[in-house]
Amino acid sequence: MYQYDEYDQKMVDTRVEEFRDQVKRRLAGDLTEDQFKPLRLMNGLYLQLHAYMLRVAVPYGTLNSKQMRMLGHIARKYDRDYGHFTTRQNIQYNWIKLEDAPDILADLASVEMHAIQTSGNCIRNISSDQFAGATADEIADPRPWAEILRQWSSFHPEFSYLPRKFKFAVIASDTDRAAMRLHDIGIQLVHNEAGELGAKFFVGGGMGRTPMVAPEIRDFVPADELISYAEACLRVYNRYGRRDNKYKARIKILVHELGPEEYSRQVEEEFAHMKTLGLNPPVEELARISEFFQDPPFDKQASDDLDLSDPDFAVWVDQNNSAHKQPGYAIATISLKPRGGIPGDASSAQIDLMADLAEQYSFDELRVTHSQNIVLPHVKKSDLYAIWQKLDEAGLAPANLDLITDSIACPGLDYCSLANARSIPLAQKISKRFADLGRQRELGELKLKISGCINACGHHHAGHIGILGVDRKGTENYQLLLGGSGAEDASLAKITGPGFTEDGVIDAIETVTDLYLEQREEGERFIDTYRRVGMARFKEAIYG
């Protein structure tokens, strides 16, 4: 994986000192909260319900065991012994003291990590496919491209005060594991007719109160023009994105109001100008970065044979492991969704254990997924049993990847000052109601996503089943949505009808899953049956 050189290191070190100075000025009264807020946000520091919250970037979801251990160390030393992995491949700490924040950033910088631009109206952490470099279905590793974008977007002087936040995702396969088209800019690496690698741009996707699937804006941007094209996309947005209304300020609204053709035309005009300015790193830079993402030294003799005589292990292998490009290896996903647990939370001990396993069994690499799990990307199949036993002991072996209890949930009203309702207790109750693994597996792939407010951090618009918590006259109320997807078959979920109480919405989920089991045809997932049968049938079952 990527290693900082002296320049990268100096940039993050300088940032730490800059922020230390800003915190000092805030505490001394030289900065008002209004002035300080965007500065702390651009270093990932929020003021949340109970305390300051720090969001640390895991660029394109990749980290090594040393970095993972540092995340555990921060949880122990500065927080309350746990962290929360988010849908954008970040980790959040909920109990941070402002006076500690500069020291935490310094600790992160010591292992080539940072919290730069994990918030604020700027370009956020670049996310990517958690299986990058390990899956056989990609045409290239997307991470070198993501790293090029990370460097370009870090401290970008023209694009640090955009109308609103800005999120990129980069993938390189037709299977979308990163909700690419629900980002402000989604990039898919593709080959052109000449066989050259380039980027297909989708612009103007997003969730929030006006969810949109990003339309394709350009089918091919050559590698050596990536940055000037991205600059063109951003400049049109920075100049013309709405600033009069916070809720209409995302680029999706601009693209929607102009229409994708007109937006694209304006970008092309800007791009023609940008190409003359020498903004693009040379191809040697992409080559330099790509060197860091070469395959680890796989054992070419590794066997595909597995002893599956332990039935619990066999289920975990079947459910949580994905095909690796290298024979004899697997991609193992560690589910952070134990029965009745808090989706995405991990204790410092669990974080340390995952780091140890990565060091011992996965060429020192881990990944954070957009569904709030952790991946060991390069595991020899013959090591899987030993890994599983250690995970199981630590409560990290739920065999529920992509099943109904593998839900995404935002922190909700338990932690978040924007929330209208709690999300986590609902995820916990659903996880208990559907605890029977046989039943979950019978239901098959079912993406359940819960948000505690309309900002949609829990991706409810992209859930096969989505839940949106709302405030109804001071009481928590939950709306049920059906038919969304954040994958390559991206679609937006629709609200079924009037909302429910917490228990009521779980009953409704049971009703729709029962209807699915009754109606499904051979090979259909929940979402497929829903799309074939239609909302009316499901509505009728729920509301009678």
Binding site: Q35, E158, R239, G278
Partner: protein, 141 residues
């Protein structure tokens, strides 16, 4: 009106800046002020005779002025480019990178601190109109 902090050596341009509309109406002005949201590209035909362009920041979080500045510099504007309005210490280094070389903040900024802020980072990741050498070029010569 506070006195501008200038990072250029030439004489201060005395003529007051006129609004963009007035500038486009009367062809002999040499100083112009553009508001956030006005199109800096309308000035491109006149860059040769402009000595001062003032770009207003109505609020420090309104970043349109950064693009306006870049557009003018990218097209060869060499006169004074002044940021006015809600210009704060923590944004001046980004402004500098986008080509501003004078600052007229609503609330005064200590010039020594400004100098420190502008020179804080030894290197930069992007090529912008301040012509600093981006890190990728240092890596590849």
């Amino acid at each position: 009106m506070v006195e501008a902090i200038r990072l250029r050596d030439d004489e201060v341009h005395e003529e007051p800046a006129v609004s963009l509309d007035s500038f486009l109406d009367q062809s002999n002005a040499t100083a112009v002020r553009i508001e956030a949201g006005e199109d800096a590209r309308l000035l491109l035909p006149y860059l040769d005779r402009l000595s001062l362009v003032e770009i207003d920041f109505p609020a420090f979080g309104d970043g349109r002025g950064y693009s306006a500045a870049q557009i003018l510099r990218e097209s060869g504007y060499a006169g004074e480019l002044r940021a006015s309005g809600d210009v704060l210490l923590d944004q001046v280094s980004h402004m500098r990178r986008c080509g501003f070389d004078a600052f007229a903040p609503d609330s005064p900024i200590n010039p020594a601190l400004m100098k420190e802020a502008i020179s804080r980072y030894d290197h930069v990741y992007q090529a912008t109109s301040d012509q600093r050498t981006p890190i990728w070029r240092l890596r590849h010569g």
